[in-house]
Symmetry: C2
Subunit: 511 residues, 2 copies
Amino acid sequence: MNGADSLIRTSVEGGIEVCFANPGTTEMHLVAALDQNPGIRAVLGLFEGVCTGAADGYGRMAGRPAATLLHLGPGLANGIANLHNARRARTPIVNWIGDQASWHLAADAPLTSDIESLARTVGWVRENKSAAELARDGAETIGAALSAPGQVATLVVPADCAWDEAPGPVQTAAPEAPAPVAEAQLVATASALSQPGALLFLGGSALGEAGLRAAQRIAAGTGCRVLSETFSARTEIGHGLPVAAPLPYFPEQGREALAAATNVVLAGALDPVAFFGYPGQASRLLGDDQVLSVLAEPGDDAIGALEAIAERVGKDAPLEERPRAEVGSGALTVGSLGQTLAALLPEQAIVVNEAATTGLAFNAFAPSAAPHTSLGLTGGAIGQGLPCAVGAAIACPDRPVVAFQADGSGLYTLQALWTMARESLDVVVVVCANRVYRILQAELARAGVMEPGPKAQSLTDLGNPNIDWVAAAKAFGVPGVAVDDSAAFADAFRRALAEPGPQLIEAILQG
Amino acid sequence: MNGADSLIRTSVEGGIEVCFANPGTTEMHLVAALDQNPGIRAVLGLFEGVCTGAADGYGRMAGRPAATLLHLGPGLANGIANLHNARRARTPIVNWIGDQASWHLAADAPLTSDIESLARTVGWVRENKSAAELARDGAETIGAALSAPGQVATLVVPADCAWDEAPGPVQTAAPEAPAPVAEAQLVATASALSQPGALLFLGGSALGEAGLRAAQRIAAGTGCRVLSETFSARTEIGHGLPVAAPLPYFPEQGREALAAATNVVLAGALDPVAFFGYPGQASRLLGDDQVLSVLAEPGDDAIGALEAIAERVGKDAPLEERPRAEVGSGALTVGSLGQTLAALLPEQAIVVNEAATTGLAFNAFAPSAAPHTSLGLTGGAIGQGLPCAVGAAIACPDRPVVAFQADGSGLYTLQALWTMARESLDVVVVVCANRVYRILQAELARAGVMEPGPKAQSLTDLGNPNIDWVAAAKAFGVPGVAVDDSAAFADAFRRALAEPGPQLIEAILQG
């Protein structure tokens, strides 16, 4: 076998089941090896940002890495924005980047560039040096991706190492389980959470059902409040589940939400900071007089730690009463759209929320929806939603996926619609068409520009001409419909859920 | 004034007239400064690859840099593929990247990443450290972009440096003229080109009209052959202009074209190498027994040097007779499309050729077309054509622009269609819809995969479903039509040229 075969066999045995690919010449032997060595589903993306975003969505849902197959430095560069989001989500991803043949690098051919520097910005990198070491490097790349809490791991494969003869596959070492949180830390945290003004701040794996239930028992037993990070990789939410409200996005509101806390305990979350710096404001949202302690870093066993504390100081208590969301009425607004979506969301849906300002508003309705999984924009690099929905749908073919999508962000990687069509994925895309970069208009005002000039208006406006999302869907083979009132949205959403394969609804917002 | 004002004023005075932008929160003060300090046209791209590709097209045609305005590391990353092409084209470009406020970097907020490492992969980088130095840094960034032969220059602007108070603008130093080629080199080259089997190999600025005419006089006087680099940033071509045929793309054919050369002189071009390495083949296309000499490196005065040599050993001679291309007939094929395009191309058109395999075939017809400017895919990073056409049209509003576009590549940055519509640019987009990555199918065969398996087929196929380019154009506000025979293409192309604003023709290839 050649190096490519040894890598693919190693990866099949190491648990890789899907490869999101847009290959070029330097990846042809790897492409051939995917046919020669069964076990990996090959999914074409029309742009690399689709591949990396899909791998992120897959990894968040599957808990193990998909592979991507990308062409040289420019192919990787096109995928970096969504790898950045994956880095912040701590999603395990394996990137295979074909490089020039090792002896051809010195020729500095037109497509040659510094792949390693690009890859380093989003995580772990291994540059393979020979066909003989390719299987080992492949196994170690999977191991790196899976090392707690999960990361983006890139393997650079020179073309000659793919085509040269190689020994067989090697076994991938099982990842180490995260270390349990130390007894002393459990004791200290149980005590801290029992103080008046205590706040339990959840993130990462703590936002799964087990972590949320343990946190709720702790809150019932100690009286502490529970909040969560603003944008989480994956949260279980909806009726029957305890709520850990996300910290508001804008820092003034975030500070306000945290102001009453005297003792803050982090479980899987980081010390909360503002998304951006603003004149006269600190980076941290907590003040120096607020006592901060860390129960579990993102790579630690946050769930085990929360359950251990719940054993000590927790109490079983019924969940607060929450009415079911109801279908909205009248013109379609941020509020009525969110309300209707929450009302009609099917059980076990996966909601990929890249709806920006509309998505922040949806946070208020999500707890009143049927229980579902929410995947958020962890790294702020827009263009994540549609690709992430592709990956989530491939990881969970039996669950309905809703891509709740801002229009400006969705335009970054709209090519994902085509992969949804080709793979017949059950994704309902809801495009929140407000036809502006609304969040930037808010930021302009925050920067003191109360009356934007024509250039500022032009650079934050998606009109002139308006995007025709139904035509865009048609271009990529996805049925679409546009609606501008709540009843029509409700009808369209019900119909879309009932149809197999992808469906797009352009929700034209009236306010 | 604040730092942003001082940067924009400095840049207006330094010759920046256009900014291709997709800003975010950290760029809001720069956006406001574009309104406060007149002189720079702000053009929104829906994706950063559109902005950087447009800046490349603008710079190639204008000979001076446009600015881009991109959001943090992910925004830059999205633009890197087309900056890679610009690096290979040696196009002057100024990137302004807003960074987190300097004091906010330590907080490692979600959108924070290593901007400098990303930018370094495509050229020169300056990280601004204070508002007081922002004007100076801005001027030096323009100077770096313009330093011969031209390069991508990136200025990282921390948000606080944009909003803090700053002194006024500073003057941008004029770029140094390239040094003239030394007398001894002229003498040696004149002698080398007079030997039997001499070949003059042109690239860069030598492919403008002056360089081509000087090369033709040299060829007439010495009997040397003239060839040019395979993908050039900008070539003048067509009736009334001397031909410097581009070296064929595949290395076997490239070697064959060079085989008879005993003496090769480079003028603005690099020692030709294969695009990719293949087993058993060398990187260089010239053999060690072929004598290579360099008349002018890319940054040198290639035109002056060629003219000086033409003075010594050149001769005025009529151009070879070339028939005008004629409109093709029958089913639309790679050949009939190229022929018809050449027949109908208006004088002074700018042809952005990212038509991949169809574009390589067009090379045979281009010399028989009306005189036009051809802009090529210098770095091999696909997704360059449509954005480049945007920039060329903005640089040259009085010239018709034809985006001759492969379908697979065009899908990378199809959002450029919207900017064409918003800015009412006179661009005719001709999509060569063969519905496969044809060049990869050829490369699979070259890799020995004569009967591709289902995964290799799937990963090189753009069908299932087919892309509807007319719908894609409609989505972005561009009128479109699909054709599949030569007469219909000719009609559609004539009509499209006659209409103002962008037009798209999906040319469905039958072979």
